[in-house]
């Protein structure tokens, strides 16, 4: 077999493989879309700053302020910690969720329906998969920035209990990934701004009731499994265990849940972008 034939055969096999996987085509250039977003944010840095302060304000008002009234709480397995230490990881996980959801819903909707950004992007070598991966990576990068800043402030405020806490940064990034992917997929179904009520409707209860502000055991028994089924519960659980240095095999369940959610979301978002724009 000549070299030319060989590469041809090689390419055919790759192409068949690519077609067998239910993810639309891409050119491996998703990073250029991330670059575009970074440039665009240089012009609109104010939104970047607000996402940074929000969780920190929560930390001081709820954690440090209210925490003084609440006393110690059970962080699971009978381990008693200060309320601020209990709630800080939950705030970090929620902030990762909120940032990712905001970016992948409102911002993506605007680009999809009004700015027609992806119409021009898809005229270049980039494919629908690049669009999905690019936007989701961007949401997750922003999350990375926020969670690093939050961790720093939390550490200075004295609510971080262990060196394991450094791993909360990749953990928060994973949370961002999971929520951004599902958020983007959901956005492709939105018809108007009104549909965003559904986003708030699913985010707010999750923010309040994912064992964020009080432990799972405080929920009525019948509701505990509902709480445990929500993605934010796993996000909070993951970050909390790491921040408190409570590391065990249970972490893998959280990681698996979020990773699967993210991967399914990316594939779905790419499919939908293809369906909507490559008509």
């Amino acid at each position: 077999m000549s070299a030319v034939q060989h590469t041809d055969a090689h390419r055919t096999v790759l192409r068949r493989l690519a077609r067998a996987i239910p993810i639309p085509a891409g050119a491996g250039l998703a990073r250029t879309l991330v670059e575009r977003n970074i440039r665009s944010y240089r012009h609109g840095w104010l939104t970047l700053v607000s996402g940074f302060f929000e969780p920190i304000f929560y930390l001081f008002s709820l954690g440090v302020g209210m925490g003084a009234l609440v006393g110690d709480v059970d962080a699971g397995g009978g381990r008693m910690v200060e309320y601020a230490s209990f709630v800080a990881p939950a705030l970090m996980a929620s902030a990762a969720m909120n940032g990712a959801v905001f970016d992948s819903t409102f911002n993506v909707f605007f680009k999809l329906k009004y700015a027609k950004l992806y119409d021009s992007v898809l005229a270049t070598p980039l494919g629908p998969r690049d669009v999905a991966v690019g936007e989701i990576s961007w949401a997750l990068l922003r999350g990375l920035l926020y969670s690093s800043a939050f961790l720093l402030v939390a550490a200075v405020a004295g609510v971080v209990e262990s060196w394991w806490a450094l791993l909360t940064i990749p953990a928060a990034t994973l949370i961002g990934f999971a929520f951004a992917a599902v958020g983007m997929a959901a956005t492709t179904f939105m018809r108007s701004w009104q549909d965003f009520e559904y986003v708030s409707l699913s985010i707010l209860p999750m923010f309040l009731f994912s064992a964020t502000f009080f432990p799972l055991e405080r929920y009525p028994e019948a509701l505990q499994w509902v709480v445990q089924a929500t993605p934010l519960y796993h996000g909070v659980g993951l970050v909390r265990d790491l921040m408190l240095g409570d590391v065990g095999v249970g972490l893998f369940a959280h990681v698996l849940y979020l990773a699967v959610m993210g991967l399914v979301g990316v594939a779905f978002a790419a499919r939908r972008v293809e369906r909507l724009l490559l008509t």
Partner: protein, 318 residues
């Protein structure tokens, strides 16, 4: 394929070839089995009224819309399997500008170049050249929104050129622009053509088609109804001159029998009669001699508008 002396291959196969190319949206057929071949270096046009299927065709060529039927090869490749590779060698100017309004004029080119996988150094250099080409150097750091329609269009073209495309696809490049802006744009497109870029454009302006296209197809209702150079089409489907008669009454049809023998063909429009003749002055003299006394008489050369009218019985712009 011909091997040139310098070792490069002069490819005389068509850059774009479509056979029985079809696009359906549900039950509706937007493009109905067209055959097209575009050769390297030519300016090729799709002329047709709104809804003819021009944009649907361009989107298929741009590899952002999968054909429903027929075969399509672009640069010898199949869009179904080689979309990204083909798009990497095309420049696309869509019907509606899709500039990035969150970026500056220069950033629009920089970012777009990066989508093609070009290095930062290359896109910086290209951006400067292209801003110069689009006469936008002074506006380089302006945001996009306040630019005039003509400037936005030039920026869209500049952006589409960032990857040095072999083929530039232009969907109605000057629709909505004032006459001066159109001429500036045409001038830029002439330059591109001279530098060897293959142009494929759609338009519903017959003057644009005549100005820019070496060869064109006339499209109507998703089908190609005629093909050739503007001159060939006029010679084949029209006469050398046209005599336009306007009467003071609403019913121009009533005058048709009185002049029918003067022309090889008469078209009755709501506001005038068109007489297709070889000698307009002679015909107008006869009209005068018959005492018909129209409000106005005008002799002009045939245009593609007349070709279209002849082929479809309708005007291009309604």
């Amino acid at each position: 394929m011909v091997l040139r002396q310098d070792g490069t291959q002069a490819d005389d196969r068509p850059l774009i070839s479509a056979h029985a190319l079809t696009k359906r949206f549900g039950d509706f057929t937007a493009v109905d089995g067209i055959d097209v071949e575009v050769r390297r270096g030519e300016a090729f046009g799709f002329l047709g009224p709104n809804g003819a299927g021009k944009s649907s065709t361009m989107r298929m060529i741009g590899c952002v819309s999968p054909p429903t039927g027929g075969t399509l090869r672009i640069l010898g490749l199949d869009p179904a399997t080689d979309g990204p590779r083909i798009r990497g060698r095309l420049g696309v100017v869509p019907q509606k500008d899709t500039l990035d309004e969150e970026l500056t004029v220069r950033e629009n080119i920089l970012v777009y170049g990066r989508y093609f996988g070009l290095s930062r150094a290359v896109v910086r250099e290209r951006a400067d050249e292209l801003l110069e080409f689009a006469q936008l150097t002074e506006r380089a750091s302006s945001i996009v929104e306040p630019l005039s329609g003509g400037m936005k269009r030039r920026l869209t073209i500049a952006r589409a050129l960032v990857n040095n495309p072999e083929v530039l696809l232009l969907d109605e490049p000057t629709t909505g622009l004032d006459p001066q802006a159109r001429h500036v744009l045409w001038d830029r497109l002439f330059r591109l053509k001279r530098s060897g870029v293959t142009l494929v454009l759609t338009t519903h302006y017959m003057d644009e088609a005549e100005q820019l296209c070496d060869r064109l197809v006339v499209m109507d209702g998703g089908k190609i109804v005629a093909e050739g150079s503007p001159r060939q089409l006029i010679a084949e489907y029209s006469t050398r001159e046209v005599l336009e008669l306007r009467f003071g009454e609403d019913d121009h049809g009533a005058y048709e029998p009185k002049v029918a023998d003067l022309a090889s063909r008469v078209e009755v429009l709501p506001d005038r009669l068109l007489l297709y003749v070889s000698d307009g002055d002679a015909a107008s003299k006869t009209v005068h001699d018959r005492g018909l006394a129209p409000l106005s008489m005008l002799v002009r050369r045939s245009t593609l508008e007349d070709v279209f009218l002849h082929l479809t019985g309708r005007t291009l712009i309604d």
